[in-house]
Symmetry: C2
Subunit: 150 residues, 2 copies
């Protein structure tokens, strides 16, 4: 089944802000972000585990990480003017949901991309924040080519 | 990338309870359940919309819905003994995550399956609870064939 009809209204008048400020997309993107990051983190932790232990974990990616990744990718213009950290994080979630809806990346593609960008030690919280911000910044730059230019 | 290595420890000693009581699987499954149900609900609401409006929504599936779907599928034995509603819901989430990890169903497969089972009016809360419980009961019965027999 194609989900394209679920973004038809957006595609009829596609701008950076119409995608980046859509509340429904942000809600669905919230689920995509947390699921893909949880699996990516589980993969990295399991691979780096010293005693060959399998680690499965579920995490909620903080608004700060997502907001900073958008700023560092120089993509604040997809959000509304005078956006706070919460708005910027919503924009990241909306953009990722849009890319998934138009089938440019599957859930598995997003997980694999995050795994490829997640370096360093994820068991130290400060390092994890830094690494996760880089991984989402790289993901945003990757998906930018599928987004409108204005 | 195959994620099979993320359930290798479980596969080495596979029982109904080893899958159904795994905390990490439940955490990841929580994300799968909420994402797939949110998209399925968005599809059904958009299809049934009288003024052709696109509706995108994100929802958290309640523990009661999941716990009842497990009971109605007669699959309580996958949970621990004297399980409360929270434990039973965790079991549903763990089973769905396991099926996804071993690639028996993709995220899209689960969404399509839920859409096919979601009848009736989802805008009335009591009807939605009833319909969602049926949809997850059917999904559990569908995935049961891929799960161990004891």
């Amino acid at each position: 089944m194609s989900y394209n009809f679920l973004v038809k209204d957006l595609n009829n008048n596609l701008t950076q802000k119409s995608i980046g400020t859509d509340k429904g997309l942000a809600k669905i993107g919230d689920g995509i972000v947390n699921l893909t990051y949880s699996v990516a983190k589980s993969i990295v932790l399991t691979r780096n585990s010293k005693n060959n232990k399998t680690i499965r974990t579920g995490v909620k990616v903080s608004k700060t990480i997502l907001a900073n990744s958008l700023k560092e990718a120089d993509m604040k213009k997809f959000s509304k003017s005078r956006a706070d950290a919460h708005d910027l994080a919503d924009t990241v979630e909306a953009l990722i949901a849009y890319i998934w809806f138009i089938k440019k990346m599957t859930i598995e593609d997003i997980i694999n991309f995050l795994v490829g960008s997640l370096n360093g030690n994820l068991t130290v919280r400060s390092e994890e924040i830094q690494n996760a911000t880089v991984a989402f910044r790289k993901l945003l730059i990757e998906i930018k080519k599928y987004l409108p230019e204005s």
